[in-house]
Amino acid sequence: MSILVNRDTRVICQGITGKVGEFHTRGCLDYGTRMVGGVTPGKGGETVADLPVFNTVAEARDATGCNATMIFVPPPFAADAILEAVAAGIELVVAITEGIPVLDMARVLPVVNDSGSRLIGPNCPGVITPAQCKIGIMPGYIHTPGHVGVMSRSGTLTYEAVWQLTQLGHGQSTCVGLGGDPLVGSSFIDILELFQNDPDTHAILMMGEIGGSAEEEAAEYVKHHVTKPVAAFIAGRTAPPGKRMGHAGAIISGGKGTAEAKLAALRDAGIEIAESPADMGAALVRAIKRQA
């Protein structure tokens, strides 16, 4: 068991004929992901990495029976690509693209929420169930199959955390990159619910960052609905207010979104805190021991 993806997930890549799309399609194939095709409007009939390319998602779905898509479409067209995947009834839509205008996402999210599709991202590394299915840009080899659910708003920080877990002998059930933008398809709460209900996930590690209130909402959810051990790290304790720290979403504005407020909420929910980024794996181990 795992969440979101497993060895039966059939994946297409939207934007497969682009340099980045092709590179990561090959990376996913190498990892063992069941990539079944790709979509680039106007390039239907071509092949990339021996996979068939289609003009539209609907055609790709009919021909391949895909139930997940990985989006590398450039920012001006990415919101439309998400809508197309949702309209075609693709269950899992993973948007890797960085730089989508926030109002485009404000237009997309109500459509996603009213559909049967789940959106992960945008501006995220993707989703991986180790040794089964990788949809995204993360380096596969740092992961090990196991029972820790990992979720994060940032990419390389997730790799760091996963690497620490693997070094400590804790494999992962599924790792989910939520994305660094202000508006994303899935929140910590959405993924917490899936991890809580997944018998194969025994503990949860989350990496948040300054900006917004997603971590506070997650803490509230954990307090009332999560029985499994949870550990957390918040990036950006030293970031000054009003400055965007790389991610569009990572900004302290109007006295909101500070690391202190987030840490206080997480502690209040009984979540084990990693005080340093070097301490993320160890914090998860402490969380497990505390509950044992």
Binding site: P75, G155, G246
Partner: protein, 394 residues
């Protein structure tokens, strides 16, 4: 991206939002001429900088405020002379302040009441939201903390805009006279339309003024735009004022790097925004102060890494540099070669501590060890942080 008040007002005027007449002046004489041309007995002379809090801010070494009323052309000239080419310090500029390069001379109006209004994208609602309050002209964060019941929030769909009932609700709760409701409806709707059409990320009107003749006027206007949407707004991109921005940040953006200057002594070069923030935290945790945030991104090449080092070293406060790379898609060998190359071309004047992990890490470390450079290698995050803090204090 931020713009000046006068630019925001030009955009709002074009969008049909009521603003007062005004003119930009670059010299005291231009300010006097602007006063005369506007023809109202009272004008406001306002410093144009990208930071807020101007009304309460003061020019360094004088009592000159950032915003002052002028009752004659001579007044306007005197105020402009007090502001132009001087450094204005406000609560938002920090103690170093910001040089005033232009002033905005704006007509006065008969103010009945001052209100507050802003539009931003609310993450929780997943949509833009119009915020309004009767507590105009005040620090809205303080209002929100002390009297949250005074804050009104109406979310709206970007394409449908505000509904009529929402503008009635706002007008009623803001205690606007019923005669002003129709006007308020137009005002709020056009404001929301402008926000959406221009891909703004923040549009703040503080104060929003109810005039004695029952109309709403945007007395101030602060606008920030979604950098990700600038590709479809060439006209807005043209309003960029690089003089208002940190030069190193502008330079970094041109090289495809994400850089934010800070006040510490330890330069940081990291791949990924989350890891870059965490690296700053780590430095601080071990007793150092980060000099910057710098994310080289996922696929940085030798040229970008070299430019990143030049930018970090252009900050004279930097006493040591920490490179923290988790090679995923980016191989450690690539970054190691780039580091060696950069150390030869840039010529390091401060100690450089490097922590590599991930893809091809062993080969990467070997390249560094055999490079003959004075690069200090570290094993793990904590080791790296301790070494760089020690090096910065040596």
């Amino acid at each position: 991206m931020k713009i000046h008040e006068y630019q925001a007002k030009d955009l709002l005027r074009a969008a049909g939002v009521p603003v007062l007449a005004g003119k930009v002046a670059h010299t005291p004489d231009e300010a006097a001429a602007a006063y005369a041309a506007l023809g109202t007995p009272v004008c406001a002379v306002k410093a144009q900088i990208h930071a807020g809090g101007r009304g309460k801010g003061k020019v360094k070494g004088s009592e000159q405020r950032g915003v002052e009323l002028a009752k004659s052309a001579d007044d306007a000239k005197r105020i402009a002379a007090g502001l132009l080419n001087n450094t204005l310090v406000t609560i938002q500029t920090g103690p170093e302040g910001q040089v005033v390069r232009q002033v905005f001379v704006e007509s006065g109006c008969a103010i009945d009441r001052e209100l507050y209004c802003a539009i931003l994208v609310d993450r929780a609602a997943g949509s833009p939201v119009l915020i309004a309050s009767t507590a105009g002209g005040m620090d809205i964060e303080e209002v929100a903390a002390k009297t949250p019941e005074l804050i009104l929030a109406e979310p709206f769909d970007p394409d449908r805009g505000l509904a009529a009932y929402q503008t009635r609700l706002l007008a009623s709760k803001l205690n606007l006279p019923t005669a002003a409701w129709r006007h308020a409806d137009t005002f709020f709707r056009k404001l929301c339309q402008a926000f959406v059409d221009l891909d703004a990320s923040l549009l703040e009107i503080n104060p929003l003024v109810l005039t004695k003749d029952g109309t709403l006027v945007a007395l101030d206007a602060k606008m920030t735009f979604d950098d990700n949407a600038l590709f479809r707004h060439k006209d807005i991109t043209a309003l960029r004022d690089e003089a208002e921005e940190e030069p190193a940040e502008t330079r970094a953006a041109a090289a495809g790097l994400s850089y934010v200057k800070l006040d510490g002594t330890i330069g940081c070069l990291v791949n990924g925004a989350g890891l870059a923030m965490s690296t700053m935290d780590l430095v601080k945790l071990h007793g150092g102060e980060p000099a910057n945030f710098l994310d080289v991104g996922g696929g940085a090449d030798v040229n970008q890494v070299t430019e990143a080092f030049r930018i970090i070293l252009s900050d004279k406060n930097v006493k040591a540099i920490l490179v923290n790379i988790f090679g995923g898609i980016m191989r450690c060998t690539t970054i190691a070669n780039a580091l060696v190359e950069a150390s030869k071309t840039v010529g390091f004047t401060v100690p450089l501590v490097v922590r590599l992990e991930g893809t091809e890490v062993e080969q990467g470390k070997k390249i560094l060890a055999e490079s003959g450079t004075s690069i200090i290698t570290a094993d793990g995050l904590t080791d790296a942080a301790k070494k760089v803090v020690a090096a910065s204090k040596a």
